[in-house]
């Protein structure tokens, strides 16, 4: 049957290390074996090498129906990827472009025309040291990454300069993906404590703002600590904080 799925299934939820191999060879047998060609999508951390699928990151193997497999790893170093929305810090303004630090190996460039309603006469108000929420249009290992603050229709859609107040801090990429998941438990639990604004960048940077400095610090510390907690521990911690701050 599907030996491919079976091979993966027995390792779902287990910790795999780089160098582990899943090898698939179609068994030579008689007529009554129906060979089905299965399509498997290898997510981050898995790599196809001829007839094998190799693991190149250490982490836990995860599966999503119908045929998506990937390695869930705790990584803090961000590698720019096209289409991802990140929080960047503007470092220099030179002529027509801004240089933005996104936490990768190179600084990304952001053209001043890539803002909503920006023309050659009407330049956007961006200063050095500002935070920008933007998307990658070009991000590969051969070229300098490029960012834009508008989507394909020309609308800002929430991107651009933000955050005159509030606190920016760094978390691991795994936590960021958990926060951005559609029905994120962490966000739901946090909302119950007190109201706050949050911007999450895929490069591991999170910006929070609450009513007072104290509350902002509490939210930031909570997010940084719930990295390594199980959902049970996290819920007890949040409950304690909610009772304490009421």
């Amino acid at each position: 049957m599907d030996t491919v799925h079976a091979r993966f299934k027995e390792k779902i939820g287990e910790v795999l290390l780089p160098g582990d191999v899943f090898s698939f060879r179609i068994p030579e047998s008689g007529g009554d074996c129906i060979i089905k060609t299965e399509k498997i999508i290898c997510g981050p951390g898995l790599r196809r090498n001829g007839e094998e699928v190799q693991v190149c990151k250490s982490g836990i193997l995860r599966h999503k129906q119908p045929n998506l497999y990937w390695i869930d790893s705790q990584q803090r170093r961000y590698v720019p990827a096209k289409g991802e929305s990140v929080i960047g810090i503007v470092t220099t303004k030179s002529g027509d472009i801004f240089k933005v630090d996104v936490g990768g190996s190179e600084q990304a460039s952001l053209s001043y025309l890539a803002f909503e309603g920006a023309t050659k006469r009407n330049r956007p108000n961006v200063q050095v040291g500002d935070l920008v929420y933007s998307q990658f249009t070009i991000a590969n290992k051969d070229m300098e990454p490029e960012l834009v603050c508008i989507d394909s229709c020309g609308r800002a859609n929430g991107m651009g300069v933000f955050g005159a107040d509030g606190l920016l801090f760094k978390v691991s990429l795994g936590l960021v993906r958990r926060l951005l998941a559609p029905q994120s438990e962490i966000v739901k639990d946090l909302e119950k404590i007190f109201p706050f604004e949050m911007v999450v960048g895929m490069n591991g940077r999170v910006w929070v703002k609450a009513k007072t400095v104290q509350q902002t610090l509490i939210v930031a510390n909570l997010l940084e600590t719930c990295e390594n907690m199980t959902s049970q521990q996290r819920q007890t911690l949040f409950r304690r904080v909610a009772e304490g701050s009421l």
């Binding site: 955050g163 920016l168 691991s172 510390n221």
Partner: protein, 392 residues
């Protein structure tokens, strides 16, 4: 690689938080982070963890001819290196300003304070002396490298054992550690640096700044002191103007912190000595927690989640009931009335009380004055109000 730049919003937030006397990890203004001192298997090897800042120090010795100007004294050589793994801002083989500053301060703290008896390092006068070499490597930079480096250096020096020597005429025999037990260095006192970071033109200060707080600081004051309250060196950088009483206050805080840290160092040395004597396992491998996640972990730091109500209730219960009579509104003019009068702000005075634990009499006197004045004011108002009522 370049270091991440500090965004404007972080800077504003940090300064705002400092104005409200809040720190990022919930510490108080004068709190140090958790200090952890571990010794390696060799004598003279020590790792100090100050929060997330990690510093490694190794002491070694060698027989060399002495300096011509001082033929009877041993030589001390200090070297501090910023490893590129400590921070993306540190590049290898780059002589940065920070490196020079740290090296200079470490030398001043340990050499000029004469904490090590260099005369005892002499073997044959004019020919052979011991050269003690102290190498400090910064493994992780999360602020306050100076304190961590000085703690590591003095702990390593106290932990170090040099080989025993025997002199017979002109022959000098150096015994290996197996033949004869090595001898510790003779250390007079333990000078330790305490760093104070100043913000907003010297109006606010923080002890033991972390890396982000260091980025927004205006100036830095480093006081090297030992537990006998002797100041070994003071250095102020950043060009801020410091008042005399600020420096005095810092030195008092430093003496408290230094005595705590000295106790910690002595305890760590004692533990290590005990374990080595009993023949137990010692070294860095033993000090690492087993089967636990060590990356992305946070030490338990007290996050201040005090609710104003709790502290307010405490204060109310502690102070005497000042207002037993409700002040009635006083008509100032048609359309404006005044209820009560503003209470004198006592927070500023509270801070002074913390810093001067010796002058307790003054503390109680000040508190008394405040409550007296409040009562006086309240009494006056009520008289006026009663008078106005009578008039009506």
């Amino acid at each position: 690689m370049r270091d991440t730049p500090l965004s404007n919003c972080e800077r504003l937030f940090l300064l705002k938080a400092i104005e409200e006397k809040k720190r990022l990890d919930g510490r108080q203004t004068y709190d140090y982070r958790n200090i952890k001192i571990t010794f390696g298997t060799d004598y003279g090897c020590c790792i100090v963890e100050l929060g997330k800042t990690r510093v490694l120090c190794q002491v070694s010795c060698e027989l060399v001819p002495p300096k011509d100007s001082r033929p009877t004294e041993g030589i001390m050589f200090f070297n501090l290196e910023l490893s590129p793994m400590a921070s993306p801002a540190f590049e290898p083989n780059r002589q940065s300003e920070l490196l020079v500053l740290l090296n200079r301060q470490l030398e001043r703290c340990l050499r000029n304070s004469k904490c090590i008896d260099t005369e005892s390092l002499c073997v044959v006068s004019g020919e052979k002396v011991w050269q003690i070499r102290v190498d400090v490597h910064v493994l992780n930079h999360d602020g306050n490298l100076m304190d961590a480096a000085s703690i590591a250096a003095i702990s390593a020096l106290s932990h170090f054992r040099r080989p025993d020597v025997a002199i017979q005429g002109q022959d000098v025999t150096v015994f290996s550690p197996e033949e004869r037990d090595p001898i510790p260095l003779s250390i007079y006192h333990m000078p330790i640096c305490v760093s104070f970071a100043f913000f907003l033109q010297g109006s606010y200060l923080l002890v033991d700044p972390c890396e982000r707080e260091e980025r927004v600081k205006d100036g830095l004051l480093v006081i090297a002191m030992n537990k006998h309250q002797e100041i070994c060196s003071i250095q102020s950088s950043g060009g801020i103007m410091l008042l005399k009483d600020q420096v005095l206050r810092c030195s008092k805080i430093a003496s408290v912190k230094v005595s705590e840290i000295s106790e910690l160092i002595n305890k760590a040395l004692e533990n290590d000595r005990k374990i080595r004597k009993e023949g137990g396992k010692f070294g860095f491998a033993e000090s690492m927690p087993k089967e636990r996640i060590t990356t992305l972990k946070r030490d338990k730091a007290p996050v201040e989640m005090t609710d104003v109500e709790e502290t307010a209730n405490d204060i109310v219960n502690r102070t005497e009931t000042t207002t037993e009579v409700v002040p009635s509104p006083v008509l100032v003019a048609t359309g404006t009335a005044q209820v009560g009068e503003g209470i004198v702000n006592s927070w500023g005075l509270d801070e002074d009380e913390e810093d001067e634990p010796l002058t307790e009499d003054r503390k109680t006197d000040e508190v008394m004055i405040i409550s007296d004045s409040e009562e006086e004011e309240v009494v006056i108002l009520n008289e006026e109000a009663q008078k106005s009522k009578k008039k009506k």
